[in-house]
Symmetry: C2
Subunit: 502 residues, 2 copies
């Protein structure tokens, strides 16, 4: 698109969440009309022409992309999925009655193992073409699906396999999705299945370095794709592996991103205590290995203690909140408002396929629902020392949309570049279409006639506007009932990467 | 349709939930191929011809409606929404941070009040044409929307207004949705807003009788539409009103259906205790007024005591479980498996607009999620006397689909007629289309080529099949990610009432 024009100007209605100030964890939502990041006063044709002139541009210099007010369209920052397991996508919605540890063995490890190369069983090759066809198919699908749901940036867990991990990086690069790509490290033979485990810490490091090298060659400036050091979680790694991965991340300049899991279930917390008796807490296991950096994403954190939250805040590490997964697997209710109040940075993650949906909007809904139920949690009552609550623990629509955009941007250490529409930010965005308001009745009240009228084609998907909503109420209706049908276009790094089928 | 043919035969793949036997509250799911309710052995063309001959039919006597296996289509019983407030539909997704009692005053009563007739402010007329245009528009929309989501039967709360209540009945009748229609009774001036309240119990009875008469004239045999006596909930009614409504329901032969709310929030339970000091429990308030019958639907029941569950079971009354609402309003986590184990009959309700969605499939998901979190509830730990659980408290996909169909049928006292595909049942059904399996890759592993391939048009909506799923796994994927896009056709009482836009 726009090959003939050197510039693209996005004009119309923009909705985003301003950065939180330091003293409050309450988000607000803002709507502007004008030209992106430039001049919110450019809100009619005359001022738009003046704007072009002031830039020294004529109409032929620019492609103008406009939101359509009649269709209740608006630009919104792209969603950021801070925790997603790409290879597990075919298992979406399949978790039976399992809890985490059963589910890993029953559903997860078998599908992940299938990403290995048959021609290279020792996993020594790096060529993405050695990925099994089914693996490429899955990765191709998950990237396109998440883009279609408005996810412009994702932090992916791949598998232990170098070719398939590199294939995921290449597919994200080709499809134009901003991504962090992690080869999964897991070398603890006691805790991992014999058919799916690194030979030892050393082999894990070498394999990880081959994926880092591949990604650094693919995208030398890290414009779109970056490697992320990925110890699966403490129980699946030896101390040697944890220590080495901490050193590996620190050996790069700037240091590499790191991602892992923490305190997802109480059984897992107990297991970590048993496996790492020398550590004072789950977070301390990672801290001892220098894995708690200001570029570390810790998935879940459902059962963190207050002391662990303090440690995480001090280290500047971040939490990926995955409520769809935590509810689906019965892992627990994460105390997100409390965590924010403790100064911890939080974003949202789908955790496909512990999470049943690739949609961050669905995760935002679940984050709000869980926050409305957490007052009933015995563990939360214990954490806070209260048994009655005033509602301030709830995450409202603006809070969860904040977590889905600004929060996620901070979690992947890109708060200055993505997640909002501030001047100078990168254009990672989605055009949301809520659809037209239902036609009002024409004064014809004959029930028989009205009943024969088909549903108006006005609304898009399940967001149903009656015309008397404030714009904030329109956003609430989108938050609660929106889906991929409302995602009309998606851009990453200024490039159009998805257009909805019409 | 099928005007030329006296019979319609549904042929193909049928999925339903058999009735629970008495000793178990665990549902199973069954898939049959053949001809509905007749002969599951009629599964090829030759046996189908034999079947026709055995009936004395030729091909020209029958319209055949078939499910398409290539598109992973199957017939499924229509969903039953046992609790929905039709006038609140425009407020879907709008509940801010409110709990129940605030929300009623802030969002609910104002919208319900708008259904009154300006030309008949005393609400003495019965003609549906006296409904305000906006009210007709809302009711028209809610009936079509719920049908589009596969709801073939709904138990509606309307408002206090006779014309609008009658309009809702007429619209359901015209659109062909099976419905129970309740004029809301609320005469406690201390608890109801001055602008939206019955003048007194007597006026409430008379208005209710006018809606009952209208519905009995509209549908004399109650084939599709039936009246349901609807005291809003104990706090909004005087003792005189509660007693009188119990007598009113019993005065018909057979007795009328009854619906109300119970134990939705702890604040409400406290309020009832304060307003009805002579009663031993919330359920006892209704029991004293003879409102607990075997045709009574009690919405919510989140905070019922074990004794109240016993009383409800003894009376044969039923519970409408509304988890999307209970989570959204932060009302609590209803102990559904426990309630089933106590012998209480349970179905699902959207509770629009406490619930944010008109979809029973969405409610089924929420029912499963809440059941996976309830182990963490302090109240549940107290109710059961346990602090650790073995997972048997979870509602699995087959359990929530049971509640959405068979459970709902039992709640509206139609267990023998709807909710399944047993011989002799009424054809209230939906044709679900999951879509084709993704094309497998063609051996072409060049990443650049693959990335250029668009998402296959195979899948419908967000159910993404890879081809290696068992049929039970397909159903799970539908339960977790399905939406109205998967509802291809809907029939009620053998009549096609909805076809998806293509």
């Amino acid at each position: 698109m726009a090959a003939a024009h050197p510039y693209t100007v996005y004009r119309g209605t923009f909705v985003h969440l301003p950065l939180l100030n330091d003293t409050s964890a309450k988000a607000e939502i803002v709507r502007n009309q004008g030209v992106l990041g430039y001049d919110w006063q450019v809100n009619d044709d005359a001022s738009f022409q003046s704007f072009l002139s002031s830039q020294g541009w004529t109409t032929s210099d620019v492609t103008v992309v406009e939101s359509n007010d009649d269709r209740n369209e608006f630009f919104f920052p792209g969603f950021i999925d801070t925790h997603i397991h790409a290879p597990q996508y075919p298992n979406e919605g399949l978790f039976g009655s399992s809890g985490l540890l059963d589910w890993l063995n029953e559903y997860t490890f078998p599908v992940e193992a299938s990403f290995g190369s048959k021609s290279d069983p020792e996993n020594k090759d790096s060529d993405p073409k050695d990925t099994p066809p089914e693996g490429v198919r899955v990765y191709n699908e998950v990237v396109q699906k998440t883009l279609a749901h408005g996810t412009t940036c994702a932090s992916y867990f791949a598998t232990i396999h170098v070719p398939a991990t590199n294939a995921l990086a290449a597919l994200c690069h080709k499809h134009g999705q901003r991504a962090f790509i992690g080869r999964v490290c897991m070398d603890n033979k006691e805790q991992c299945p014999s058919y799916y485990v690194d030979q030892d810490a050393e082999q894990g490091f070498n394999a990880t370095i081959r994926t880092i090298d591949y990604i650094h060659t693919l995208d030398p400036n890290g414009t779109l794709i970056n490697p992320i050091v990925t110890p699966r979680f403490a129980p699946s790694c030896s101390n040697e592996s944890l220590d080495g991965l901490g050193k590996l991340a620190a050996s790069y300049e700037p240091p590499l991103w790191i991602q892992t899991h923490i305190a997802e279930t109480t059984d897992e917390v107990d297991l970590v205590q048993q496996l790492f008796p020398e550590s004072t807490s789950y977070a301390d296991v990672y801290d001892k290995a220098n894995l708690l950096t200001n570029r570390t994403i810790l998935a879940h954190g459902v059962h963190l203690t207050k002391d662990e939250m303090s440690l995480i805040r001090e280290r500047g590490s971040k939490v990926a909140h995955c409520p769809a997964s935590n509810s689906g697997l019965g892992s627990g209710l994460a105390p997100i408002r409390y965590m924010l109040d403790q100064g911890v940075t939080v974003g949202l993650g789908t955790d496909v396929a512990g999470g049943y949906s690739p949609s961050i909007l669905e995760v935002a809904r679940q984050a709000s629902l869980v926050s409305r139920l957490i007052q009933f949690s015995a563990e939360y009552q214990q954490l806070t020392g209260n048994t009655t609550f005033d509602g301030s623990e709830k995450l409202l629509y603006q809070d969860v949309l904040y977590l889905a955009t600004r929060g996620g941007a901070a979690v992947v250490d890109m708060a200055e570049d993505i997640g909002g529409f501030d001047k100078g930010m990168i254009w990672d965005a989605q055009l949301i279409e809520l659809g037209a308001v239902q036609n009002s009745t024409t004064g014809q009240l004959d029930v028989a006639t009205l009943a024969g009228r088909a549903v108006e084609t006005g609304p898009v998907g399940n967001v149903d506007l009656f015309g008397n909503e404030t714009w904030q109420e329109q956003i609430q209706k989108w938050m609660w009932n929106g889906d991929d049908r409302n995602v009309k276009s998606v851009w990453v790094q200024g490039k159009l990467v998805h257009t909805r089928d019409e």
